[in-house]
């Protein structure tokens, strides 16, 4: 199962909504990286815009950016991955239930708190009546949405799938975390198809999600994909600065990737959030198309070749592990 990624729209803490992937914004030492939001007026109908919660604006605008970058091509299915979904609206509603002892609750935050709100809004905006799904599975939410899309394309009933990964920063949630790392947020939408659409298309060759897997799941995955590790032109690693989390990536750097494999990190650019792999995928797709990763993302430069084949590896608290293999379209 595979898919061609033919367009992307990304709202992130970098100026990616303008298709600027230079990632030059200095983010060092920040506790929270808020998304840089575009002027929504050009992307969302003003009547709808007034009624939208922030995550709905982020999601609808990123979906529209993706459609614009695809030259207006419409999807025939919509799949969203979101770890915490509309967590801020959920907190508002819960707070009103608890603090007013159920006396002062209003329907709007309840409606806005539903996890499939973004996918539903995008369907209404684009008037897409076919397949619509939302995966909410912590650090594997976006990858599960991608896998769902790969299955749909494999079944040949749908040919243009709009897949998104979206999460917004939640102060409440952040306050509860024991390990504080730079937190981020973002909305990335991608138009996936069974055929490449142009020279900037990249191929998603495989997506896998694992829960508490054994030691050797990455070599096993690469073997299944007939990709010896020295064929990788880069590894994108979800290092987030927490010593416990990063230890796993460091072990891979020591044991799996040869010294020539360039290593790329991205969470210092977008922050940690459950669907940060959407940022990583957009970054990888752009680097494959442009022939290089932006310097701020490079942890360890390697062989000078342009990136053709790239592995994205992320884990969430050493519990959910995800792998995405991306390569230049047409490369076998």
């Amino acid at each position: 199962m595979h898919a061609y990624l033919n367009a992307a729209g990304l709202i992130s803490p970098q100026r990616t909504f303008e298709n600027d992937f230079s990632c030059t914004l200095n983010t060092q030492g920040a506790a929270i990286l808020p998304a840089i939001e575009p002027d929504y007026k050009g992307l969302i109908n003003p009547v709808q815009l007034r009624r939208m919660s922030r995550i709905l604006k982020l999601g609808t605008a990123a979906a529209q950016l993706c459609i614009n970058n695809a030259g207006g091509r419409q999807p025939d299915a919509i799949i969203v991955g979101t770890g915490l979904a509309c967590v801020n609206d959920l907190e508002v509603f819960l707070k009103s239930v608890i603090e007013t002892d159920e006396q002062g609750v209003s329907s709007i935050p309840f409606i806005n708190s539903l996890h499939n709100t973004v996918a539903a809004q995008v369907a209404r905006t684009l008037k897409i009546q076919s397949y619509n799904n939302t995966h909410c599975h912590r650090g594997a939410s976006f990858e599960n949405a991608l896998l769902d899309a790969l299955m749909l394309l494999h079944e040949k009933e749908h040919r243009q799938i709009l897949v998104g990964g979206i999460d917004e920063f939640s102060r409440h949630y952040y306050n509860l975390l024991t390990t504080k790392v730079t937190s981020g947020e973002g909305a990335g939408f991608f138009l996936l198809s069974d055929l490449p659409a142009g020279e900037n298309s990249v191929k998603i060759s495989a997506v896998r999600t694992f829960y508490a897997p054994g030691e050797d799941f990455i070599p096993r995955f690469l073997a299944e994909q007939h990709t010896p590790v020295h064929h990788l032109d880069a590894a994108l690693l979800g290092m987030n600065g927490a010593p416990g989390d990063d230890a796993l990536y460091r072990r891979l750097i020591d044991c799996l990737f040869p010294p020539g494999t360039p290593l790329i990190t991205y969470k210092h650019l977008c922050g940690e959030y459950p669907t940060s792999s959407a940022f990583a995928l957009a970054l990888a797709a752009r680097a494959i198309a442009a022939g290089a990763f932006p310097p701020p993302a490079i942890l360890r430069p390697g062989k000078p070749a342009t990136p053709h084949k790239v592995l994205i590896y992320n884990h969430y608290q050493n519990c959910n592990h995800t792998l995405i293999l991306v390569e230049k379209a047409g490369l076998m």
């Binding site: 509603f93 159920e102 539903a120 369907a123 897409i128 619509n132 799904n133 594997a140 896998r208 897997p213």
Partner: protein, 401 residues
């Protein structure tokens, strides 16, 4: 009946359920046969909405912990996770096949996730003083991760959350994992505990019935919420043992009405599309369907919209229809899987379950729901509808094997 040979079959070899009707298929079937509703007064937690009846699983969290066999870290289980575990355990016990762990996946569903835990610990959460180890109990993935850990499932674990159609969509994802060859065995279903959050949320929309839901009745006045969990075991032809087959998932469709966030269109356009597409994937025509287990929430809007969709697809020959939400209440993310299991019980035992509390014909509809228990009914193909906020319309078709 036409058999759709072009697409790999998805067999059902296990089923487990916990709801207001009881814990286990046996208790569920007994209540269904006895036409006993599980909807009644709220007893397990405090709420200002105590006057509104709901379908509770009549076990405290402590009892559920014991039934799920949890001995350590008992403070880290939300009610949703416990209900899910209990239903999943029954389903996996029933399905006896031995399948390579690498070929087993999990497609779970929830809408409230750990909200039950969230509510109990709200002061500490809002003050930021809740110990960090409980943070993961709050999100949607928690129940699925606990189920996965219990059974040692590690590949392709997901949680679907599409409001009230969630577990129907999880079953569809699971079926497609099998059809595309990603897995040979998938545990698929959903779980939701009753919460003050959901009670108040639906109450703000003015769609909770003050005295118990009466689907497809002219005097229907809203939903009765419920809680519960239901899981199916889906298997591929490669691993299934014929003697274990409970039925087949022969058709499905996931569509979106793209009409309104919380209301379905009066003409039931989205529901019509879902039912037609499900028939198409099953390779069946409307006349092949012997019974429709309707979404039938008991709201003014849903039942009219769904009723019209049924009339559009089935014309003058509408098969027996009932909503079993009068038994269980609306179990939100668990509803699709719970009604899938009720459909399988209908197929296995040749039964048609009545639509409880029906008294008055809806003037807008030509058909009347099934009001009496029917035994020795030949039931070969069942359509089960699940619709949700966000315009989510899903239909499943279950067939006798």
């Amino acid at each position: 009946m036409k058999d759709n040979k072009s697409s790999p079959a998805v067999y059902i070899t296990g089923a487990g359920m916990a709801s207001a009707l009881g814990i286990s298929l046996e208790e569920t079937l007994r209540a269904l046969r006895g036409q006993k509703t599980g909807i009644g007064p709220i007893t397990l937690f405090d709420t200002k909405l105590k006057h509104i009846p709901a379908g509770e699983v009549k076990c405290s969290d402590e009892e559920l912990l014991d039934r799920a066999g949890i001995r350590s870290e008992r403070d880290t289980y939300s009610r949703t996770a416990l209900l899910g575990l209990i239903a999943a355990q029954e389903a996996m016990r029933m399905s006896q096949s031995v399948v390579d762990k690498q070929r087993i996946s999990l497609a779970s569903a929830t809408t409230t996730g750990g909200m039950n835990f969230h509510e109990k610990n709200a002061p500490a959460i809002f003050a930021g003083t809740m110990p960090g180890k409980y943070v993961t109990l709050l999100d949607c993935a928690d129940a699925a991760q606990k189920i996965a850990r219990h059974f040692g499932i590690s590949n392709n674990i997901t949680t679907v959350s599409t409001a009230c159609s969630s577990s129907a969509n999880a079953i569809i994802v699971g079926a497609r994992m099998i059809k595309t060859g990603l897995a040979d065995k998938v545990l698929a279903g959903g779980a939701d505990a009753l919460t003050r959050f959901a009670l108040n949320g639906f109450n703000t929309l003015g769609i909770l019935s003050p005295d118990g839901c009466r689907p497809f009745d002219a005097r229907r006045d809203g939903i009765s919420l419920g809680e519960g969990a239901a899981y199916l075991v889906l298997e591929s032809a490669a691993v299934v043992k014929p003697e274990n087959i409970l039925g087949r998932l022969s058709g499905y469709a996931n569509t979106n009405e793209a009409y309104h966030q919380t209301a379905s269109s009066p003409e039931g356009e989205g529901a019509t599309l879902a039912i037609r597409k499900a028939l198409e994937t099953a390779g069946l025509c409307p006349a092949d369907i012997d019974y429709i287990n309707a979404h039938g929430t008991g709201t003014v809007i849903n039942d009219l919209s769904e009723g019209r969709a049924i009339e559009k697809v089935f014309g003058a020959a509408v098969p027996p229809v009932s909503s079993t939400k009068g038994y269980t209440g609306h179990t939100l993310a668990a509803a699709g899987a719970a009604e899938a299991i009720i459909s399988l019980l209908a197929i296995r035992h040749n039964l048609l379950f009545p639509n409880l509390r029906f008294t008055a014909q809806m003037p807008e509809l030509s058909f009347t729901p099934q009001t009496a228990l029917k035994e020795q009914a030949p039931v070969n193909h069942i359509l089960s509808n699940s619709f949700g906020f966000g315009g989510s319309n899903s239909s499943l078709i279950f067939s006798r094997h």
